[in-house]
């Protein structure tokens, strides 16, 4: 379980997060939604110790992230940041191989090789493995970064808008893979999404962040209502029922 207690975070005197406390259940997919600038990326970066905590406490599987060994944490938790500027001349397979660094410190074993090959295959990258990142399309690059995170093989995965640049097939494939990780391997996935329909279709747990505070959380089907979308986003998209599933109708 990821447990977050009383997080406040300021940048240059401006409040970015205020009194955020929540638990993200183990063995499931938690979706984090909220308007642009709500603080989702900041929250994820704090959990993954990319930013230093200013106030409050975060534990992952009982490890306090402020005090636990960062190299050990890298074997438990991985993050895909929203903005990635990994070395552009790196080849796809070299990038994915970095995912094994926390385990083998750069001396790849045969087992690491197999994990890397599997990650490449899972993201349709086998044929692109020798290409440099800056020669790939946006979606292919996103897949390469995802493959690296998968290769890291951690129990906890934090993904900040992983569907960026992915087409509908790749998006659905990724969401299904994440469900598989949660259901079959008992991993814990936290994913920032903008498309609420993906959250409704694939997440077990939903956290809504607005203006740096938790605005709602719980079962996606129950949390997402016309009223919520109106209140949080200030737009009047309707939530409709279709084949016993809730869908946000984005039409005018």
């Amino acid at each position: 379980m990821i447990s977050i207690r009383n997080i406040d975070y300021d940048i240059a005197g401006k409040a970015i997060l205020r009194d955020v406390s929540l638990d993200m259940p183990k063995h499931g997919v938690t979706a984090l939604i909220g308007p642009n600038g709500a603080g989702k990326s900041t929250l994820l970066s704090l959990i993954a110790r990319l930013l230093p905590l200013q106030h409050g406490r975060v534990t992952v599987d009982g490890h306090d992230i402020a005090t636990c060994d960062t190299a050990a944490l890298a074997r438990i938790l991985a993050i895909l940041p929203q903005i990635q500027d990994a070395a552009p001349r790196l080849s796809v397979s070299d990038l994915v191989a970095f995912g094994r660094y926390p385990h083998s410190r750069g001396r790849l074993t045969d087992q690491d090789g197999a994990i890397i090959d599997a990650a490449l295959a899972a993201f349709q990258l086998t044929d692109l493995r020798n290409r440099a990142l800056d020669t790939l399309s946006g979606g292919q690059r996103q897949n390469a970064l995802l493959a690296m995170i998968f290769a890291q093989g951690t129990d906890y995965l934090l993904l900040d808008e992983p569907l960026n640049n992915l087409d509908i097939a790749a998006s659905r494939r990724l969401m299904a893979q994440l469900r598989g990780l949660a259901d079959e391997q008992g991993r814990t996935v936290v994913i920032v999404l903008h498309d609420i329909n993906y959250a409704l279709a694939y997440a077990d747990h939903l956290v809504v962040l607005a203006e740096g505070r938790v605005a709602a959380m719980g079962n996606p089907e129950e949390v997402v209502t016309d009223d919520l979308i109106n209140r949080i986003y200030g737009t009047d998209a309707a939530v409709i029922n279709h084949n016993n599933r809730r869908i946000v109708d984005v039409g005018p």
Binding site: A48, A78, I79, A86, A87, F98, Q152
Partner: protein, 314 residues
């Protein structure tokens, strides 16, 4: 297959070294050999120190245009040396063994590097323009302060610091060689030992943190190593502006794999060939009086322009 460039470069460097030792030797071999061997060792040491410092600095600063000398590392070395002479007085400095002065100054440079460049990198990593500007301001400031102090020091004392003000490959300060070799080889061994960490560090703060690297700590450590290497090269031959940029950019052309395990040796070999081969050509073959540093800086400077214009900073 992948080790072929390294093998070829090794052979070329060896050839240059042999020619450097033997070509145009007049007089007894028993004199020529040790005399030239000292200079050759100095050249190779400087070459490796500069290329390694440049690779490492580019890794921690996240770009491939900046080098320690462009950012004012060696200007800071000269400034600290001048400051030492100024405050201790020439009498005291001359009485100090040269090695002690060198050691003291290296320590100061390590401190200064972490304080100045540690904060700079933490704040501007990825912002090339701000880094270059700050580097230019640093370097200019250090040079003016050095010039200012040097004017206030009387001419006898000036002798002591003059060595640190301009590059000269033909008159290497071989007195310092023992300590310089120990420091340089020690630093290079540490850099090589941590080559896989540097690969991860090159991915940038977030990706490296995700992979479990303590980025701040590694950056400070890298800057300390850069400071030692710059001290060695500046003490032996004086400041060299663009050699590092030239040889590391060439090394990246020779090998695109981006791993430090390959980049470090290839850059070191190219650097060695440039210095030993260049000195050989100028001194022995063409008997030119043009200092090698002028030629290297001219070529390196043009390359710097080319890289800036092409915008291949990352």
């Amino acid at each position: 297959m992948r080790s072929r460039p390294v093998a070829v470069l090794c052979v070329v460097l060896l050839l240059c070294a042999v020619l450097y030792m033997t070509l145009g030797a007049k007089g007894a071999w028993s004199f020529v050999i040790p005399f030239r061997a000292g200079k050759l060792a100095g050249l190779v040491l400087v070459a490796v120190a500069i290329s390694t410092a440049t690779v490492l600095f580019q890794t921690v600063s996240g770009n491939r245009i900046l080098t320690p000398s462009i950012m004012g590392f060696d200007a800071l070395y000269s400034l600290l040396l001048t400051g030492l002479v100024f405050f201790l007085g020439a009498q005291a400095t001359i009485q100090l063994p040269p090695m002690a002065l060198f050691g003291l100054n290296t320590g100061l440079l390590m401190l200064g590097a972490v304080l100045l460049f540690g904060t700079l990198i933490a704040q501007t990593r990825g912002d090339l323009l701000r880094m270059i500007l700050t580097g230019i301001i640093f370097a200019t400031l250090f040079r003016s302060l050095t010039a200012f102090w040097q004017r206030m020091i009387d001419p006898n004392e000036f002798q002591v610091i003059q060595v640190a003000s301009y590059a000269r490959f033909n008159r290497i300060d071989t007195d310092l060689l023992p300590l310089a070799s120990v420091l340089c080889l020690g630093a290079i061994a540490l850099v090589w030992h941590r080559r896989r960490q540097w690969d991860v560090l090159a991915l940038g703060h977030d990706a490296a943190t995700n992979l479990g690297l303590r980025v701040r700590l590694e950056t400070v450590f890298a800057l300390l190593l850069v400071a030692v290497l710059v001290s060695v090269s500046t003490a032996l031959v004086g400041p060299v502006a663009f050699l590092g940029l030239l040889v590391v950019s060439l090394a990246r052309l020779v090998d695109g794999s981006e791993t430090h395990a390959r980049l470090l040796p290839i850059a070191a070999l190219i650097s060695g060939i440039t210095l030993v081969g260049g000195q050989l050509a100028l001194e022995r073959v063409f008997a030119l009086s043009t200092p090698l540093s002028v030629v290297v800086d001219l070529l390196g400077g043009l390359f710097f322009f080319f890289l800036l214009l092409k915008g291949r900073s990352r």
